[in-house]
Amino acid sequence: MLSIHKLSKTYRNGVRALHDVSLEIPKGMFGLLGPNGAGKSTLMRTIATLQAPDSGTIAFDGVDVLKQPDLLRRQLGYAPQEFGVYPRVSGRAMLDHLAQLKGMADKNERRRLVDDMLRQVNLFDVANKSLSGYSGGMRQRWGIAQALIGQPKLLIVDEPTAGLDPEERNRFHNLLSGIGDNVVILSTHIVDDVADLCSAMAIMDGGEIVAQGAPAEMIKALEGKMWSKKIDPGSLDEHRMTFRVLSSRMSGGLLDIHVLCDTLPGEGFTPLRADLEHVYFATLAARRAQGVIAEQAA
């Protein structure tokens, strides 16, 4: 159980990356969804003890993470959003290196584990190749493999699927779905990642948590309120004025818009099954609207 309480961080250039973030993250796969720049990575790095917040606390299973980062690191697996590698070091050698740094002293055990990891992430065949030659997807899978070493009680996976092609992402989802007895935080800006994998989630925007809960329940709240209509692309602005358009996408020359409304918004609308993407957009839209109102009020 990871408890985050009133975490705030403002960078020196004035960017407010975290603002009063409080979260309770239970065991299992937890999705942290948010647009780019929402502060997800800052939150992940802060939990991973790589960055200090200005204020707030983090506790993991009763351990104060900020005061005793060492204790957390012993139970931590962290796959950063982007990372570099040493040149001329193979995937296997680097995993072995990290396994030692994580505290695996026994050589044979380490070799078995590294091989096992490499098989799990499907890199066994290229294990002895230089890491710097890996493709983006291979590198991300390797990143998960290194994070999984030592059966961490807290696993942080930051934007693992960014830049992956659909096939690679699919493979990734399979890989992640196999773990999750412990606390796993998956930070992403891709809704499908959360929809496919997570039993709990939060949505983050502008450094704040704007919604949280179980995906199914959050979807349920929108049940019967989502409508779809195909419109002429020229009339999008018009619709925007009238309806709460959450998303729009071209489909056969026409624009397919998804609208949130308690009742049938009007002619041409057909009911739509709500999904997580709607939840996400609705949440963001609500927040943006608040922002607009706040600005107007000021």
């Binding site: 991973a48 931590l76 990290l98 505290g103 065949d125 230089s130 999984l148 070493i149 399979n174």
Partner: protein
């Protein structure tokens, strides 16, 4: 390759780069530091004196010196602003942005280079501005500032500033661009810095001066070569001309830079990087089933064993990378290259003893320092530059594992460098002909290995600390330099000199073959121990403050320091701090409680107070010592001595003397003193000055006895120099250290003109003028005695021999100590020395004189040569001047830390172990300095031992110049007059170089004011020319008559004019002009052979025509020269082989005769039986000629040296 052509894009790149760099804090910080340090160099008198010497602090000479040193120190400017340009694009991956746009490589490269280079130039341009500003500092002594000459700044900035940024800039930019490796760029930087050190090592050897001058990328050595013989006046008024060596140097290096930049553009392509990546890529595989689950077991442990294995893992990993890197091997090669500089035999060769080779190979230490700085920066930032840090830092491995492993890697590198260089030094020693038995491994391990390695190790901790606390590697390096050099200088400027407050510094450990490391090692080790605590403290702080994860501003890290340290860290800090303070306390107890600690300001103050209090007694008539009797007990192991003595003093004046002033050297322990029938009326224990009043004034001719017990002790150790007069083996001190001195002691007041001005004191004359009759009543050595009787008993430990002047009367042992009783049978001056060491004695008797050499048992090399020289010298001088006055003539070896030369005390010559005893004279082409020095000191038995000048101008001519003459004559008879040239050329070079450092006025020889370059070096040339022109017998007759008339004279003491009077009488009026030129004027010649043509006659003889040019100048004391008419008989010589190449015989001389030469061009024609290959004017360099290399020309019109020093008003 695309042809470079400028386009608007180039300008845009340049402008972008310029603005980008100019906005960076780095450029402002650097410029500020450069401004501050340049300003300080000029405006802080202590510093400007050090660099300016005798010239104005804003003279063209000083401007160019400061600018070129700043450019040298500023090697990192091009690294930071130029090479980082390419690295930046590479690292930030912005390459792609540029590299995909339709721009040319030329625009990209040239634009960035130009933009960044302009910033470099701007950063350095603050230096001339700071000098300019500094020269207007109101507190400066106006005498040290010259008139404002704006163009000097511009010129020197271009030649030694901008050019010296461009040269390394172009090369480093290219290295960075082609390798894309910071490490490679650092390595190239190290290479540049090392060039300078290699140059200074090689440049000491005259044979390599031209090479060094051409291949030094900074042009500094070419500059020094050109100004070698410049007078202070020229240094103040001439800009060094861009010609000769300097021009070639600039052409070579700027040309090389241009070539390298062209190569850079040609070889560089945006696409190279990408192709490389693609080639190395691993093909992605198709979809495969993913097997999840069934994780293997992972047992985690966090105990000490794991931590150790993690540490070792990181060390293995990092060290593996470093030791496989190109940079490491390059640095190693550079270090080895520096060691190899010691391979060639030096011009004055010595046997390759371990001490000699260690000193000669010590240049590689600079590599250790540079590695500690640059490699530390690189290693500390490596994980970040590969962006691996997030993964690494999220593991449970503690921070110290990362930092300590980096540091350990650095230590391994330093260890490897030290080990390899030590091995290489041993190889150098063997290669230079040492036997394995002469290789002192323990000395290597201690001095080249341990000292160097350990100092580098401490420096690396400091360096790592600064890399850890700053968030930018360049800021880290800069901070180290500021703290390392800046803080040090600032503290010294504030008068804080104690080594306790100067980073990592420790007193030196001067090595001596006789004394080994002796007691010096103790002080050194305590200070190293002290700094080890300090380094330990820094180390713990480094572990704690090190950036884990995100880069955090240092103040935020400091705020959380207690948390970061943890309890163990705080405890460790406390413990280290206690150790640091306790060790510092123990050191302080030694340096400041057991010993009296005085800074140089304290010393100045003491001298000032002494002058204020006692100078008024300078002319007070005082009795003189007529007999001295001493019992001196030397305790070598305890480094102390005690002397019981008595003086018999006599009133030699015509009036009663009521009071006697008695002073002792600072640091003397005055146990007791008693003056017969007199009372102590004033005691100044701070100045050790005491005033006695006679119960009844001392009447003319009346004598009294003064008895005293004094001691000198050296408990513990000192902060600065631990050289004490008594050492474990090789004690050497003279009476001025602790024996009482009567009257005011003029040696104790401030001498330096600038220092005196700071204390508002009138400058003192170096010596009173020749016309001052009062000064002729005392000799120039000591004022409190004339020729006096001397007797001493000296004791020392049982294993040593103790020496004092005089013939040995008796030797005995008592109570485990050895006693020696010496007595002088002729009167001596009140200046004598004591020695004690474990000596081996080699002796011989010649003509009733016992010739003895007391030497270190291992130093037998030149003992026979010394005995020969003593015998030959005594034989010549006795025959030429007067009988030898002693029954024994002795040489004693003393440790090199007391000095490098020899001294001619009565019947004893203390002779340093530094060169003489280990000089390698096996090659007859080399100058035999041992023979020369020994015959010089033997000459002093007459010219000092029998005759000494009054305390006035010209005094040292009577002792030093004549001793040189004695030596030259003995050598002339030994080697022949055709081979004395090598000695004369050497003396001439030293005289001309010496003129540059003249602080006040150069004097004609007969008014020499104790100026070594005049009385030794000019004196040799003058005396040789004199005897060559007027005849050796005439000169000897004059000298013998001088002795007959003035030996042991003290009422008055003889003057140089006494000699000139006798000389003129002996030589006759036809030599008047010569004598005046040689002794009474400063005359310089410019003699040059310009053509030698040879034509064969029908009868087999040869027509020879030699064209020469001649000029004569008279110089003022400041070095301003005026051409004067020339009408002189000068040597004209024709040779079949160059005199330089002949070391024996005179078969090579076809003709050597004196011909009248007038100013301008002179043509001489001869008919000879053989064809000369060489010809010249004054070929043996008997006259003072600033360009001695162009006197001889070869048949094909080539001079010997290709590059000559340019003389004023003429081109190269």
């Amino acid at each position: 390759m695309r042809l470079p052509q400028a386009s608007p894009m180039l300008g845009a790149f340049a402008a972008f780069e310029f603005k980008y760099q100019l906005r960076s804090t780095m450029s402002f910080v650097t410029a500020a530091i450069f401004f501050a340090s340049s300003f300080a160099v000029v405006a802080v008198p202590q510093m400007s004196r050090a660099i300016a010497g005798v010239s104005h602090i804003n003279s063209p000479h000083v401007i160019s010196m400061i600018i070129s040193s700043m450019a040298w120190l500023g090697i990192f400017i091009p690294v930071v602003f130029l090479s980082s340009v390419v690295m930046r694009d590479h690292k930030l991956d912005t390459e792609g942005l540029f590299f995909t746009r339709p721009i040319t490589e030329f625009d990209y490269l040239a634009g960035r280079f130009v933009g960044a280079f302009v910033v470099c130039c701007l950063v350095l341009v603050v230096t001339p501005l700071a000098i300019l500003a500094g020269s207007f500092a109101p507190w400066l002594d106006p005498e040290t500032v010259g008139p404002l000459r704006p163009f000097d700044y511009v010129y020197n900035y271009l030649v030694f500033g901008a050019a010296n940024l461009l040269i390394p800039g172009a090369l480093l930019f290219t290295v960075a661009n082609l390798t894309r490796s910071t490490m490679a760029t650092y390595t190239a930087t190290v290479f540049f810095l090392v060039f300078f050190f290699a140059g200074s090592a090689l440049g000491a050897n005259a044979d390599y001066r031209t090479i060094v001058a051409l291949f030094d990328p900074y042009g500094s050595f070419a500059y020094l070569e050109i100004i070698r013989y410049w007078s202070p006046h020229e240094l103040n008024t001439r800009r060094v001309p861009l010609e000769g060596l300097l021009l070639w140097n600039r052409v070579i290096w700027l040309g090389l830079s241009a070539a390298v930049l062209a190569l850079n553009v040609a070889a560089f392509s945006f696409r190279t990087g990408k192709e490389k990546q693609r080639r190395k890529g691993v093909p992605a595989r198709g979809a495969q089933t993913v097997a999840v689950g069934g994780s293997a077991k992972a047992t985690l442990s966090f105990g000490p064993a794991t931590l150790l294995s993690q540490f070792l893992l990181r060390v293995r990993f990092e060290a593996g990378r470093v030791f496989r890197s190109f940079s490491f091997w390059t640095v190693l090669l550079i270090a080895l290259g520096l060691v190899a500089l010691a391979l060639p035999t030096p011009p004055t060769p010595v046997y390759p003893l371990t001490r000699v080779v260690i000193n000669a190979t010590s240049q590689y230490q600079i590599v250790l320092a540079l590695v500690s700085i640059y490699f530390a920066a690189e290693l500390m930032w490596r994980d970040r530059s590969y962006r691996v840090q997030d993964i690494l830092h999220a593991t449970p491995a503690p921070s110290w594992v990362f930092v300590a492993s980096t540091l350990a890697t650095l230590w391994l590198v330093l260890f490897a460098l030290c080990a390899v260089c030590t091995a290489a030094a041993i190889a150098v020693q063997i290669a230079r002909g040492a036997s394995w038995a002469e290789v002192e491994l323990s000395q290597y391990l201690r001095r080249t290995f341990f000292f160097n390695f350990y100092s580098a190790l401490l420096l690396s901790i400091l360096s790592t600390f600064f890399q850890a606390v700053t968030n930018n590697r360049y800021v880290g390096m800069l901070a180290l330099i500021v703290v390392g050099a800046g803080l040090d200088t600032a503290l010294r400027a504030l008068g804080v000199e104690h080594n306790l407050f100067h980073n990592l510094s420790a007193p030196g450990t001067p090595y001596s073959d006789m004394n080994g490391d002796g007691h010096f090692i103790v002080a050194k080790n305590w200070f190293l121990f002290y700094w080890t605590w300090f380094a330990g403290l820094l180390l713990v702080l480094t572990f704690a403050l090190w950036n884990r994860g995100a880069l955090t501003p240092i103040w935020l890290r400091v705020r959380t320091l207690p948390v970061r340290l943890g309890r163990a860290g705080v405890q460790a800090c406390a413990m280290l701090l206690v150790g640091f303070i306790a060790t510092g306390g123990y050191i302080f107890y030694n340096t400041n409680v057991l010993n009296t600690y005085r800074t140089s300001r304290d010393m100045e103050r003491l001298a000032f107070d002494y002058e204020k209090a006692y100078r008024k007694y300078e002319t007070l008539p005082q009795p003189r010592i007529v007999a001295t009797q001493l019992n001196v007990d030397i305790y070598p192991r305890e480094r102390r001595y005690q002397a019981r003595g008595s003086y018999i003093i006599e009133n030699k004046t015509g009036a009663p003397i009521p009071q006697v002033h008695v002073g002792y050297g600072l640091g003397t322990i005055v146990r007791s003193q008693q003056l017969e029938r007199a009372t102590l009326v004033a005691s100044d224990d701070r100045q050790l000055h005491y005033i006695w009043r006679f119960d009844a004034p001392l009447q003319p001719g009346e004598r009294r006895t003064f008895t005293f017990v004094v001691a000198r002790e050296n408990p513990g150790f000192r902060s600065d120099s631990n050289i004490s007069s008594v050492v474990w083996n090789g004690t050497f001190f003279n009476n001025l250290e602790s024996m009482p001195v009567l009257g005011f002691n003029p040696r104790r007041i401030l001498q330096d003109r600038a220092t005196r001005r700071r204390y508002d004191l009138e400058p003192i004359d170096r010596l009173p003028p020749l016309e001052d009759d009062a000064a002729a009543s005392r000799n120039y050595i000591v004022a409190d005695a004339d020729w006096m009787a001397f007797e001493a008993t000296v004791s020392t430990s049982a294993d040593q021999i103790a020496i004092a002047p005089g013939n040995l009367q008796r030797e005995w042992e008592d109570n485990g100590r050895r006693y020696f009783h010496y007595r002088m049978e002729t009167p001596i001056l009140n200046y004598y020395a004591f020695l004690s060491a474990r000596y081996e004695l080699t002796e011989e008797v010649a003509d009733g004189v016992r010739l003895q050499v007391f030497h270190h048992p291992a130093h037998r090399y030149n003992v026979t040569r010394m005995i020969d020289a003593m015998r030959d010298g005594i034989a010549y001088d006795s025959a030429a001047f007067s009988p030898f006055q002693h029954r024994q003539m002795r040489i004693f070896e003393y440790p090199q830390f007391f000095g490098g030369g020899a001294q001619g005390f009565p019947n004893s010559i203390p002779y340093s172990e530094r060169y003489g005893f280990i000089a390698d004279n096996r090659d007859p082409r080399n100058i035999d300095r041992v023979y020369k020095t020994t015959t010089h000191e033997v000459g002093h038995q007459w010219w000092f031992g029998q005759l000494v000048g009054g305390a006035m101008q010209g005094a040292t001519m009577l002792s030093e110049t004549f001793a040189q003459y004695s030596a030259l004559m003995v050598m002339k008879h030994k080697y022949g007059e055709h081979h004395i040239r090598r000695f004369l050329k050497d003396e001439l070079d030293k005289y001309l170089t010496g003129r540059r450092g003249e602080a006040v006025n150069e004097m004609p020889l007969y008014r020499v004011e104790n100026q070594p370059y005049i009385h030794y070096n000019k004196g040799s040339v003058v005396m040789y020319a004199l005897q060559d022109y007027i005849g050796e017998d005439v000169v000897n007759r004059a000298l013998a008559r001088l002795l007959r008339e003035h030996a042991y004279a003290s009422k008055p003491y003889p003057r140089s004019t006494d000699f000139l009077r006798i000389l003129r009488a002996e030589a006759g009026p036809e030599h008047e002009a010569l004598i005046a030129d040689l002794f009474e004027k400063i005359v310089l010649f410019d003699l040059k052979a310009t053509a030698l043509s040879v034509a064969k006659r029908s009868e087999g003889r040869f027509d020879v025509r030699l064209t020469v040019e001649a000029k004569k100048f008279e110089a003022s004391g400041k070095g301003v020269e005026t051409e004067v008419p020339l009408d002189y008989a000068i040597d004209i010589g024709l040779f079949v082989r160059h005199p330089d190449d002949v070391i024996d015989g005179n078969d090579h001389v076809l003709l050597l005769e004196r011909r009248v030469v007038t100013a301008g061009k002179n043509v001489f024609e001869f008919v000879l039986d053989a064809a000369p290959q060489f010809g010249g004017i004054d070929p043996y360099n008997k006259l003072i000629d600033r360009v001695s290399g162009d006197n001889i020309i070869s048949f094909d019109g080539k001079f010997r040296q290709q590059f000559l020093v340019s003389a004023p008003d003429e081109g190269f």
